[in-house]
Structures are given as C-alpha cells and as structure tokens.
C-alpha cells in the first residue's frame, strides 16, 4: 500500500478510512507544530489538531490538487486556529492554563532552560499583540520558514501584500522588544552577557 500523498488523498475522497488514518499519522506532527506556534498556547492543542483533521476529512473532496497538499493543509490549519482565537476572544480567558510543559532541551542546563522559557513566553506575548494578518504571516515566515509565495497561497493574498505585512510585522515586533522587561535584557545584553543558544548547545555536545 503506497503512502504517497496523492494516493492517500484519492483514497480518502473515496471514503477509505484507512487512508485517512495514514494521512493523519503522516501529517499530525506538522499540524500540531503549526497549531502550537499559531495559537501561542499549549491548551487546546490536541482539540485543535483534531479539528484540523476533521476539516480535512470534510473538505478533502474539495482538494483538487492544484496546490501542494501541504499548502492546502496549512491553509486549513491556519483557518482553524484563527477561528478558534476569534471564538476565544468572546469567552472568559483562563490565566495560567498551561498544564503541560514543553519538552526540555537536554543541551541546556536547568537555569538556561527556565530563562529561555521566559524569553520565549515573553516573545510570544509580543507576537500575540500583532494583528491577525500580520501575526499569521510573521509566524509562517519567521518561525515556520515558509516563503512569501507559499504564504500567499495559504492566506489567499498577493505576494506583495504578504511581503508588506511581513515588513510591518517585523518592524512592529522590533519596536515592542525593547519595551518588554524580559526581552529588553536580551536586546541590551546581546553582545556581552548571554552566550547565544548555539554556543550553549555546542558547549554541552562537543
């Protein structure tokens, strides 16, 4: 049985549950990663991944293969997360509901791990302040590493618009960096106080 995506998609469209299951297993990690990065929260992660694949199941008949499956899947994932965040705005917010810890990086010492966690949390709070459109392209480009053309296909906007949003998103984030008490230390102490992450990792592994 071939695991080729096109084949799996075709079989999913024909109602083959085994193929859908294989599709889920093949893409669940990347969907979970994107959901997590887009949502900026560990709560609801599993529910959102399920929701994405429910959408895949419902919409796979609409996937005509014009775009790459991964692009289509990213589009679905982004939409699910955005819908979730919009809905969450109208609900009371829970503070400190991060019940699960992220995996620890064995290359870092415990205090470095904690410090990095604080920086990443602070950085995510800043990214969260961006508008929905800017945050989407910022995460997809800077964190996920997608090109503007790929993002354009995902968000349904011209490439030039994506580039513009990226430019302003990046500028806005840079403007907020210095104002955050946690991250201003990063900015001010960049050259002297803290070794870069790569240096930490290298120190341990070499």
């Amino acid at each position: 049985m071939s695991d080729d995506v096109q084949d799996l998609v075709a079989r999913c469209r024909a109602g083959d549950s085994e193929a859908f299951c294989r599709l889920f297993r093949a893409h669940r990690d990347e969907v979970a990663r994107l959901v997590f990065r887009m949502n900026g929260s560990r709560s609801d992660l599993e529910d959102l991944v399920q929701e994405v694949f429910l959408q895949v199941h419902r919409s796979v008949g609409d996937f005509r293969g014009d775009a790459r499956f991964s692009t289509w899947l990213y589009r679905l994932t982004v939409n699910v997360v955005l819908m979730h965040r919009r809905a969450a705005k109208s609900r009371p917010q829970l503070v400190g509901d991060e019940t699960a810890s992220p995996p620890r990086d064995p290359r870092l010492l415990p205090d470095e791990q904690v410090a990095r966690r604080r920086r990443v949390d602070a950085f995510q709070r800043i990214v969260d302040q961006l508008s929905e459109k800017k945050r989407t392209v910022f995460v997809l480009h800077e964190v996920e590493g997608l090109s503007p053309a790929e993002i354009a296909a995902i968000v349904g906007a011209p490439v030039l618009t994506v580039r513009t949003r990226l430019f302003y998103a990046r500028r806005e984030v840079m403007g907020l960096l210095g104002d955050d008490p946690t991250l201003s230390d990063v900015v001010n102490g960049l050259e002297s106080e803290r070794p870069p992450l790569a240096a930490n990792a290298r120190r341990e592994t070499t």
Binding site: S17, F24, R28, E46, Q50, P103, R104
Partner: protein, 358 residues
Amino acid sequence: MTPEERLEKALDELVDETKAETTPQQIEWDTVEATLMRRVQGGPISMMRERATSGRWVAVLAAAALVAGALLWVHESHVSAPVAPLETAKLTAPAELPHWLDGDAIGTGAVVASDDREVVVEHRERATWTLAPKSSALVESTGDVITVALNEGSVSAHVVKSPRPESFVVRVEKTRIAVHGTRFRVDRLGTTVHVELAEGVIAVGPVGGPEIELFAPSNATLSLDGLRLDTPPTSPRPTARQGESSSAPPAKDAAKAGTAPAEDVSPEEKAKEDAERTMTDGIRACLAVSAVSRGDLRVSVETRMAVHVLANGHVEQASFAPPLSPAVRRCADAVLARIVFPPSDDAFVIEQGLQLDH
C-alpha cells in the same frame, strides 16, 4: 552595533529560540486518533480502529520491552537536566549482524544509539539510515519528512526517490542536510560536519538559511552553524592551495608534493594548513555576522583576499578586493592578528577567494 542592528539580532535570536522551544509536548496520539476516528466515522469503525491500534501498540511495546530489557542505554552525557522521556533503543543481534530497528515504529523524540555495531533503521519504502558504531541520533520527525538530529558519530542513509522536495533531513546542531533520493553519509567531527555524497543531490546549509546543492560524487565540510568551510572543488575561484602554489616559495619537493596523498603532508605543512583554515574560518565568520539575511532577501558577499605572511609566521598585511566594509575589516584584522603560521624560510602570500551566501 547600532540600536537597530541590536534589535534585528535580538529578534533573530528570539525566533531561533522560539523554533527550538515550540515543539509540542508529548501528545497522546493514540487517544487523539481514536477520538478523531470516532468523530469521523462513528462507534463501530472507530472502536475497530482503536482495538487495532491498541493491538499494534501492544506488539510494539512488547517488542520495545524486550529491546529495552536487553539493551536500554541512556545518554548520560546528554542529560544535564531532567528531560522528557525519550525512547532510547539498542537492539541485540547476532554478532556478525548490525542491529535493526523498524523506523515506522519509532516515535518522534526517540534516541537511537549504537554500541560497537551499526544500527540500521528502516522506514519502509522511504529511507534506510545507518548509525555507525558509537553514534547516536535523535529522531525529530517521522512525518512527510524524516528528520534525524545527529548527536555524535556518523550516519549514512539511502533515501528512496520521492516527488517531495525533500523527504529526509539530517541535522547537526544548526547544519541541515536535506535530500529526497540519494545515498550519502554525514560525520560529526568535533566542531565540524563532513558530508559525503555517493548518489543524487543533497542540499546543505544552516537551519532556516540558504542551502547549497551538492551533486554526487562530492563531499563538503561545514561548521556546526551550517557554513561551508571547504572550497568547492568545482569553484572557478582559486583555492588557498592554488594561491600558495603560485606565490609561495618552492616546496622542498614540489613534484612530490603535487602528487603525494594527503597523509604524506609534513607536520609543518599540516600546521600551516591548520593555521590557514583557522584564518579562513574566522574571516568567514566575520562575513557571516555582517551578511544581511532578512526574510527571503539574500545577500552574497564575495571577495578575494591576499594575505602576506612574514617568515616568522606573523601576518604582515592583508588586502581584500573588493574591500570589506569597515566593520568586517576590523573583525578580519582581529582574526589575522591572532593567526601565527609556522616559521618558514621566506615570506609568502596566500591568495584565496571567499564567498558567503546568506
């Protein structure tokens, strides 16, 4: 560093940290899958799926228990803090055979380690990778793209051709080697990475950065940050050795030097090569720090350097054409001031082309 540059650098560093940090926590995939299938298809089918999955996992766990009982091995040197549970597997096998692991049964986050024998990991119809003895690797992903982070030692792989842009990735720190159908080997050698390509095409470069394509048969040496340290053999730019041969004093036995294998290099020549490599790496690092990398905008820095070295081994002067920016030149001068070549009978000049795409 201007305030703007500092912000740019801070942002890049935070993005890197975010990438490293935001791997989702351990997810109960079996539970998610079972619930999803129930929601998609209703009770009876999803329960069948659940039972089948459970049965499969019982088998996997039973096998894993046998495996773990036989050879469970924790990388203490890599566990400087309590870490999330990772599968660490070593398998028994007859003495003459390598250990074998079913790659499709290995989850993300598993650490595969070898003892005195190779460990062969097979992902059916996709890729087979082999850990050399005394090596270890972390399985970072097993989805569309199989990603293996080489912690120590060597890994070689045979990847089945696929229509995907890439299907197998080896990461060594911040160096990334991506392939979609090829046969290659990656060695982690202290602070460098050596890549040897036997078949096909691979892309090498820094994680999240620009990549260089290598065509078989070829090899490359990279830093742990993904910067290429050696000079591509097909490059039209003169290599350091070419530059030396044109301007350095005659070697004691030039004809022999021209044909001798690498292991015949004298200690003096070796020391000179080491100093030259240190110098080149340092200047490349200066270029890398200065190179602009914003979004999909890539800036290529290219220059030709001529370094005049006195007989006592110290650098007398250096020139770059085209000239370097003041900041990079200061950095390069600091590198050159620290370099000492082994003393020689006469002064000599090293000429070399340097290029960095960032």
